[in-house]
């Protein structure tokens, strides 16, 4: 599962770490001072490291809960994100993480209690409210059997019913949720692209069918479930792949019961895009014409807006406009 486990000396004696090291005793373990010695060094190559990622167990210092970028959320409440982990077990070619870090290793910040303290302080500053996103710099559920993220953080949010936690994921690791009582202020938000996009650009990601099955189970169990259509990447096939995707999803899930549905176009900071192009000069997606606005790069398409409107029109056959928002 991991090529190596690097452990900051400072976290070596934390029980959570001891348990992990015992569990993965067959994986080479290397002690380091700070995770920055191993992670995101100048001469590293994200694409090569994806061949055999390592796990880094570290302590997060500094701000642990940050204001979410504008346009990220689904309502007007104050919104925040926190990252107990950096990097993702999946390998999606369109992902901004490839341009954000030079390393594909997974950093797991194990000082959950410090995250918990920061989160509860922020919730209390917001009179018990606010929206908190997890899964911005990682996939929160995909490494659940290793991280036990849900086991720790869901009880925190259960104590604050007016605060909302969104867990953004592409994972089918929902056993940890199905085994516990529903946390009514927790939303499981699953990302989807079309079948064509998934085949072309998503490696190691569970199939659409398996993800839908997981969401279906969650919905039946009473969990709040959301759908994120991100990134929308329009190809020569036009709208047909989206028609097929929506038909598949809404034949399996109850659209009226969805917490929310959103869409977002392919966008990333110019610098990230430049780094990704260097890593994947052979990738067709990055060979497409682009346009830059306010430091963000997007695929250039004269019909982008009309396509987006057409996709939204299709989507609104299944969900209400109150459930839908456009991200970014």
């Amino acid at each position: 599962m991991f090529s190596t486990i690097y452990i900051e000396e400072e976290v070596l004696e934390i029980q959570r770490v001891r348990n992990l090291l015992d569990r993965f005793s067959q994986v080479p373990q290397v002690i380091c001072d700070r995770y920055g010695e191993v992670f995101n060094r100048k001469s590293q190559n994200f694409r090569l490291q994806k061949m055999a990622p390592a796990l880094i167990l570290a302590k997060k210092y500094g701000n642990k809960v940050l204001a979410a970028p504008s346009g990220y959320g689904y309502n007007d409440s104050k919104s925040y994100y926190f990252s107990h982990m950096l990097n993702c077990v999946y390998d999606c070619r369109y992902c901004f993480l490839q341009g954000m870090y030079s390393s594909a290793n997974y950093v797991l910040f194990v000082n959950y209690e410090d995250f918990e303290k920061s989160i509860t302080e922020e919730i209390e500053k917001n009179n018990g409210g606010g929206v908190y996103y997890s899964g911005y710099d990682c996939d929160s559920l995909a490494l659940e059997p290793v991280s036990n993220f849900c086991s720790h953080f869901l009880p925190v949010f259960r104590r604050y019913p007016d605060a909302e936690l969104e867990i953004r994921t592409k994972s089918t690791q929902v056993r940890c949720l199905l085994d516990i009582e529903v946390v009514s202020n927790c939303v499981i938000a699953m990302s989807f692209t079309t079948s064509e996009a998934a085949v072309q650009w998503e490696q190691k990601v569970p199939s659409i069918e398996k993800r839908l099955e997981a969401l279906h189970k969650l919905q039946l169990a009473g969990w709040k479930v959301a759908i994120r259509f991100e990134p929308l990447i329009l190809g020569a096939e036009g709208l047909a792949p989206y028609e097929a995707l929506f038909a598949k999803i809404f034949s399996k899930l109850d659209g009226q019961k969805l917490h929310s549905v959103s869409s977002g176009l392919f966008r990333m900071p110019v610098d990230f895009h430049k780094r990704i192009v260097k890593l994947y000069p052979d990738e067709e997606l990055f060979a497409r014409p682009t346009q830059t606005t306010d430091g963000m790069i997007a695929l250039k398409s004269t019909e982008e807006n009309s396509h987006l409107i057409a996709i939204e029109k299709l989507l609104l056959n299944y969900v209400s406009s109150e459930q839908y928002y456009r991200c970014g």
Partner: protein, 279 residues
Amino acid sequence: MIKSVKHSMPVNIVVANGLEAKALVKMLELERNHASAEFVEYSNPSKLRLLVSGIGKEAVAAAVTYLGEQQVSDDGEIRAWLNIGIAGHRDAPLGSAWLGNKITDQSSGASAYPPQLIEGFEVGSVVTVDEPENSYPLDSAYEMEASAFYAEATKYSTAELVQIFKVISDNLENPISGIDIRRVPSLIAAQAPQLLILIERMSAIAQQHNSNQRLPSYFSEVCSEIHLTVNQKLQFRRLCQRYKASGLEEELGRADLKASDARALIQQLAERIDRISEA
């Protein structure tokens, strides 16, 4: 011995002394290359290079610089770098060997962590010392080049393709003072099965990387015919990559894309691929 390799092996091996090289020359079917007056150098038709640096950090850094500077190219190709050598450890059996996953420079205290992409090898830490170490205080292989090798080689390649392989030649029971240097070639030779796999795998990763980065031959053809400024070359390079990534490599060099000056050519290529990709 290495199989008769027809394909390219973009691997540089650096050893500290001729005895370490001796076994490798035979194992890898290398021939002496007299190009350098400064270093003893070997190579084979598969482009595998072996350099004897001399002992210590300064010597190995100079050797890496010598080789790296020769191989710098603007086509984005990189080579794998492997430091092979003997080391001491307090209690590891003579002849045991591992890939370094933590390289600590004893004098500065700084550590580097070569990413471990290649499975199936023993791994362990390595400490680079300025003088031979007799007491081996840590559970590490003690030697005299690795930290400088890694620091220097990562200037020419990506860290994933810079590795350190150490074979234990001395320990507390068999101290360095009593080491029979004539045994060094056999200690290295005994690692042949492991070393051949390691070199093959490093070579395969480097080749895959280079293949992903490879530009259409049109790029070098045009560069040799038309003068391009640095900026134009970058633009032209990216356009060639876009054509290749879009499966349109054969479009490059079409008669209607011929232009006598770089600016016109770049403009034509850009307009064409934007038109095709957007359609």
